[in-house]
């Protein structure tokens, strides 16, 4: 029961925060686009790529993509590592 109330309070807090944030956020589609405008205007020239999303992913924020690729790499290596021992036992 105590655990249940703990989880309930956490959920209520999160819902409160999310709903609260929704009401005071700027209206959808009207961000103060200081960074985005620059990218949209210059991506084709600087990154030589028609797909601006690709330009952001591999040029402007390429390091983040490297990081996300590494996250996948770590997850795969970790999964293979954790599944290793019992797998070997089964084979023999």
């Amino acid at each position: 029961m105590r655990q249940f109330f703990g989880w309930l309070s956490l959920v209520v807090l999160m819902v409160f925060l999310v709903i609260g944030a929704l009401f005071i956020m700027r209206p959808f589609g009207e961000p103060p686009s200081v960074m985005d405008d620059y990218i949209i205007d210059n991506a084709q020239e600087e990154a030589a790529s028609n797909n601006v999303v690709a330009a952001v992913l591999f040029d402007y924020r390429g390091f983040d993509t490297l990081g996300e690729a590494t996250v996948l790499f770590a997850a795969v290596t970790g999964a293979l590592l954790v599944l290793r021992a019992s797998h070997k036992k089964e084979e023999t």
Partner: protein, 522 residues
């Protein structure tokens, strides 16, 4: 040389990552080549970290814009805010870099001998390097989303490393717990970053700090960020995962996990001091951190008394010690807006706390390595089954005593040097905090003395008669940490002047951090 230093901040991360990607390929061909490669790469990285730290502490904040036409071109022509990812290394980042470099090198050397007989070593070293790279990325980056990405790398590789010993069911459970906690914390952080991005359309920490308005939305983001980072570092209301995960990991991994939780502490500091900084209600946020710290101290030490498993006991001691850091930093944050108080005791409290971070990594790392050495020889972590180990494992017992005394804050060791700074300065802020701190220290000493006398002294048991000292590389790794403990204890002034003071200055001086990014704008 100057080109090397100019590129060093990215080289540190990228060389570690590239070595991690190379490890499985080389490991298939030859084990020895793989081990040499890893040690050489980490030694090179450690050298770069020292060179970078020296440059940062002597000259100025180091900025590196990824993918721009020049490393220091933070804001491209035609834009008014940074567009690309920027690495920004100031005193605190360089300080954390030193801690990470030392501990990861020691952990690798220790593992090479401790895990010699295990299967799946390729994956183990790959993940270890990825974890080191993730922590380097976390402390060097100046970009909020990049911080999140590297936090993810650290958490996922950490979880897999905790679950490395698959023959024990509890280590898989520990890994699962860690990944659940990390996933919750990561999602919260991502949500907060989304809020800030929707508000300002910026991701760079310096640029965000320059435009921060501290509206209601920013407060919500602050609350979410702070609670997520406290969760990741194991502060008390959210500490339940810590002992279950640290105690089941292979011996060298808890040492790295401590540094990972300190990287989360670093992120907490960046958020509260640099990102929000002067806009924050300092005393409220400071007192929240102080209360979390006090709770951590209390709960950590009382839970440590009850444990009969040596690694769980050390893990609870970790909770307790991180309480000291949080109290010191909380006091610093609470008086941030008041220059008089800051000069009188605030800077000193933060000095103590930052100094305690490196000391904590050294002595808790040593304690975990010693516990791992005992497990390596006798195959149990249960204190009730240990007796008289000091007769055959003399060096190990001496090293344990050294770590325990340092952790309890006994004079010639490094724990004393940092704790006395915290006591002295916190006393001027609120005497009760100091009294609680001293009480907790005494309890810590009692806990460790109980462990020492029950495990290492006494009659030597017949079944442990032919237990020998652990292999040399493991001893060497432990001695490196022990040497650090003694050195930092004997010459605290040197360490304070060289690496701790610049780190604290970097925390207090929010303007310099912003100027390093936004300085190009007239």
């Amino acid at each position: 040389m100057s080109t090397l230093i100019a590129h060093s901040s990215i080289l540190i991360i990228a060389v570690t990552l590239a070595t991690a990607f190379l490890t499985p390929l080389v490991g298939i061909a030859s084990k020895r080549a793989r081990n040499t490669l890893i040690v050489l790469a980490l030694a090179f990285v450690a050298f770069l970290v020292v060179a970078l730290a020296r440059d940062v502490m002597l000259n100025q904040i180091h900025v590196y814009t990824l993918g721009a036409a020049a490393p220091d071109l933070t804001i491209p022509g035609g834009a008014i805010v940074p567009v690309r990812i920027i690495l920004e290394v100031d005193g605190l980042s360089a300080f954390m870099g030193i801690v990470i470099a030392i501990v990861s090198l020691v952990a690798v050397i220790y593992s090479m001998s401790a895990l010699k007989t295990e299967t799946g070593q390729n994956g183990f070293y790959t993940l270890l390097l990825l974890m080191a790279a993730g922590m380097f990325g976390m402390v060097f980056t100046g970009d909020l989303f990049n911080l999140f990405v590297f936090l993810e790398i650290t958490s996922i590789s950490g979880a897999a490393l905790i679950a490395f010993r698959t023959k024990f069911a509890d280590s898989q459970e520990g890994g699962f717990k860690y990944i659940v906690v990390s996933a919750v914390a990561s999602l919260m952080i991502l949500f907060a970053i989304g809020l800030l991005y929707s508000q300002y359309n910026l991701l760079n920490i310096g640029a965000l700090a320059a435009t921060m308005e501290y509206t209601m939305l920013d407060r919500i983001a602050l609350v979410i960020l702070m609670s997520a980072f406290v969760m990741k570092l194991g502060g008390v209301p959210l500490h339940m995962w810590l002992s279950d995960t640290y105690s089941v990991a292979p011996a060298s991994i808890p040492a790295l996990l401590i540094v990972a939780s300190q990287a989360s502490l670093y992120a907490l500091l960046r958020t509260s001091f640099t990102l929000y900084g002067v806009t924050l209600d300092q005393s409220v946020a400071g007192w929240i951190i102080i209360i979390v710290g006090l709770l951590s101290m209390f709960v950590g030490v009382t839970m440590a008394i009850l444990q009969t498993d040596i690694t769980r006991l050390i893990a609870y001691n970790c909770v307790c010690e991180s309480g000291f850091m949080l109290v010191g930093l909380g006091v610093g944050l609470a008086v941030l807006a008041d220059p008089g108080a800051l000069d009188a005791f605030g800077t000193m409290a933060m000095n103590g706390a930052v100094f305690h971070m490196i000391n904590h990594a050294l002595f808790e790392g040593l304690l975990f390595l010693v516990a791992g050495a005992i497990f390596y020889r006798i195959g149990t972590r249960d204190l009730n089954q240990m007796c008289g180990l000091g007769h055959t494992m003399k060096l190990t017992s001496v090293l344990f005593l050294l770590g325990a005394l340092a952790s309890a804050g006994i004079p010639p060791f490094n724990g004393f040097a940092s704790k006395i700074l915290i006591y002295e300065s916190v006393y001027q802020f609120n005497p009760i905090l100091t009294m609680i701190g001293i009480l907790v220290s005494i309890l810590t000493l009692a806990v460790f003395m109980k462990v020492f006398f029950s495990a290492f002294t006494g009659a030597s048991l017949p079944r442990y008669r032919d237990v020998r000292e652990v292999p040399r590389p493991m001893v060497a790794a432990m001695i490196v940490l022990a040497a650090g403990i003694i050195f930092f204890g004997l010459f605290p002034g040197l360490v304070l002047d060289w690496i701790v003071q610049p780190a604290t200055d970097a925390l207090v001086n929010q303007g310099a951090y912003i100027d390093a990014i936004m300085g190009a704008v007239p």
